[in-house]
């Protein structure tokens, strides 16, 4: 569960990617993350949810220290993660935030034995350890992610997808991090294996006292794992709140649409409202619609929604929503 202690604060973060193609010399940008503010508290698991083009992965990379924002600040325990365009030189800071990605085949070195992959990380984190101490730490890491010593002498190609993802978790843990960004880490795995990896994540969260940013498109996973949810649409957070409260009574029409469309969510039997059956496709993040960005697909959009961009505001206690009409129509 989360505490009140904020550990990561995002202040008006923006990231635009320039497109090489400009019409009549006009520069075009993909507005991947467009003015996002968010506070993440110690010990909580926050789910960043959205579909392709929502900016969730870009935001995850910014939080992980892998991508400097164009504007805004990312503050970890009072320290700026970036100095302008460059990642802070503070090494401790870099260790404390770790990321795991969807595809372990691209994040693990295929030519390194699992032991060497872990040992390298352990040595980076701890100077001057003896070989025995490194080996001991590697063994503990593997045990904590549910693998055994036999795996140490294997190469990535000898492991299954689930095992590889566990190694990726173990390597992140070698840094003794406080925050773990998990970007679609089970999306490529078969469902029966998916649960194993998520259970490992739940275990190590307790053991290492982690704060987790869990990026996913699967509402079922959000329900099962997260304390807080931030729903993103076209570079913006459109709804933020306690997961339980958002699932019971989603306020933003897009959240309602996501829950209505998602088979895993309807299997759990939470929210479903045919008024919010999916329609249309997300517009291009290069040229988002005027007014509310969701207005092209929203079943309850009215005049104001086509004129004014609704700010993220606290519509009910601890419930933040960017919608002019969320409370008027359900």
């Amino acid at each position: 569960m989360g505490s009140d202690e904020s550990i990561l604060i995002l202040e008006r973060v923006k990231k635009y990617f320039p497109l090489s193609l400009g019409l009549r010399g006009k520069k075009l940008y993909v507005r991947a993350v467009d003015d996002v503010s968010l506070t993440i508290r110690k010990g909580e698991t926050i789910a960043l949810v959205g579909e392709s083009g929502s900016g969730k992965t870009t935001l995850g990379r910014i939080i992980a220290g892998l991508l400097p924002p164009d504007e805004g600040r990312v503050i970890y325990r009072g320290i700026d993660l970036y100095n302008g365009n460059v990642l802070s030189k503070n090494k401790e800071l870099r260790f404390k935030i770790q990321a795991i990605f969807q595809n372990p085949d691209t994040s693990l070195n295929p030519r390194m034995m699992i032991y060497d992959t872990l040992a390298e990380a352990i040595r980076v984190r701890n100077n001057g350890l003896t070989e025995e101490e490194v080996a001991e730490k590697a063994a503990v890491l593997l045990e904590n992610v549910g693998l055994n010593l036999d795996h140490l002498t294997k190469y990535p190609h000898e492991l299954s997808g689930g095992e590889k993802q566990r190694v990726a978790i173990a390597r992140a843990l070698a840094m003794n991090p406080e925050v773990l960004i998990a970007d679609e880490i089970v999306s490529a795995l078969d469902v029966s294996v998916r649960a194993q990896v998520l259970n490992v994540l739940i275990d190590v969260k307790d053991k290492y006292d982690l704060t987790i940013v869990f990026i996913t498109h699967d509402m079922g996973l959000v329900w099962s794992i997260s304390d807080k949810i931030a729903v993103m649409y076209l570079g913006r957070i459109v709804e933020y709140g306690d997961t339980e409260s958002v699932f019971r009574r989603p306020l933003h029409p897009y959240t309602r649409m996501l829950l209505t469309s998602s088979p895993t969510a309807s299997l759990i039997g939470y929210y479903r409202n045919d008024k919010y059956k999916a329609r249309g496709e997300p517009p291009s993040p290069v040229n988002p619609p005027k007014g509310c960005r969701f207005n092209t697909r929203c079943p309850i959009a009215r005049d104001k929604c086509f004129e004014e961009d609704p700010p993220l505001s606290e519509l009910a206690k601890n419930r933040w929503v960017a919608c002019h009409r969320a409370l008027e129509e359900e």
Binding site: D190, V191, R194, W223, S224, M257, P263, L267
Partner: protein, 323 residues
Amino acid sequence: MSIVLDVRNLKVYYELGNGVVKAVDNVSFQLYKGEVLGIAGESGSGKSTLGQAIAGLIRPPGRIVGGQILFKGKNLLELSESEWRKIRGKEISVIFQDPNSYLNPVYTVGFQVAEAVEAHNGGSPKHYIHKAIELLKMVRIADAPRRAVNYPFQLSGGMKQRVLTSIAIANKPELIIADEPTSALDVTVQAEVVELLLELKKELGSSMIFITHDLPLLLEIADRIMVMYAGKIVELGSSHHIRNNPLHPYTRGLLESVRYERKAKLKSIPGSIPSLISPPPGCRFAPRCPFAYEKCRKIEPPLKQVDGRLVACHLFNEGGNDG
């Protein structure tokens, strides 16, 4: 109900350098007219190979080793490639996951839809451009006349999948095989495309085989669901039965691992999918099954009628509830 497709003892093997992969191993089932049969399974279950076999698309090193596929009484396995060309795209259509690999990047989508009509009606694609626009309208592509002159790269993923769908339905097929048609799409887009597929199926009076790893999706759309594991059918029953009272331990495990509970450890199936080159003796699921006993490791369980559906598991006795 009349039977559209009758698959009997089908075996499809891949002959690889290091052994024979028994991707589909002695599979039998029937498809009824007008129904949506969902085939659920994880990677390596054989579900896609099965779909390809029904569409006559197995290519070396794959080989159909035995069995029959009777489509309206005719054995598809005896057809020559030229006979197949008359059936595929007309009586049997296929929709795959990745529209990018099935749409030609250098032709407009309208032309490609027209070509699909021309293939079975003769003449030239040019004659069918109005028909193509009509088909694009049928799959609810907004502004179809303008879209018809677009190239695939100008369309979104959801729209490309609609174009493929319009090609698949161009000749009013009796059987539509959809292999993970929406797995690459976002869930809101998926919801719309799936709804469209079901409506078109109904309109045309076709039958559909919907292949996917997404069991929750099948529970919503399929009349019956066939669960495959390591090349075999483990359970085949109505969506209602599978959702509310799955019998096979694998079906149960699969369902439990997606029936997410709040802040609770997820139920998982231990271990991983076995090698299809040397599958375990007896029941292929036995090494991962919490209920497996001596017999399961020795004797392969046959599919038997239990409680209104078919199950391949020694835990159950024919006809009864459990054993």
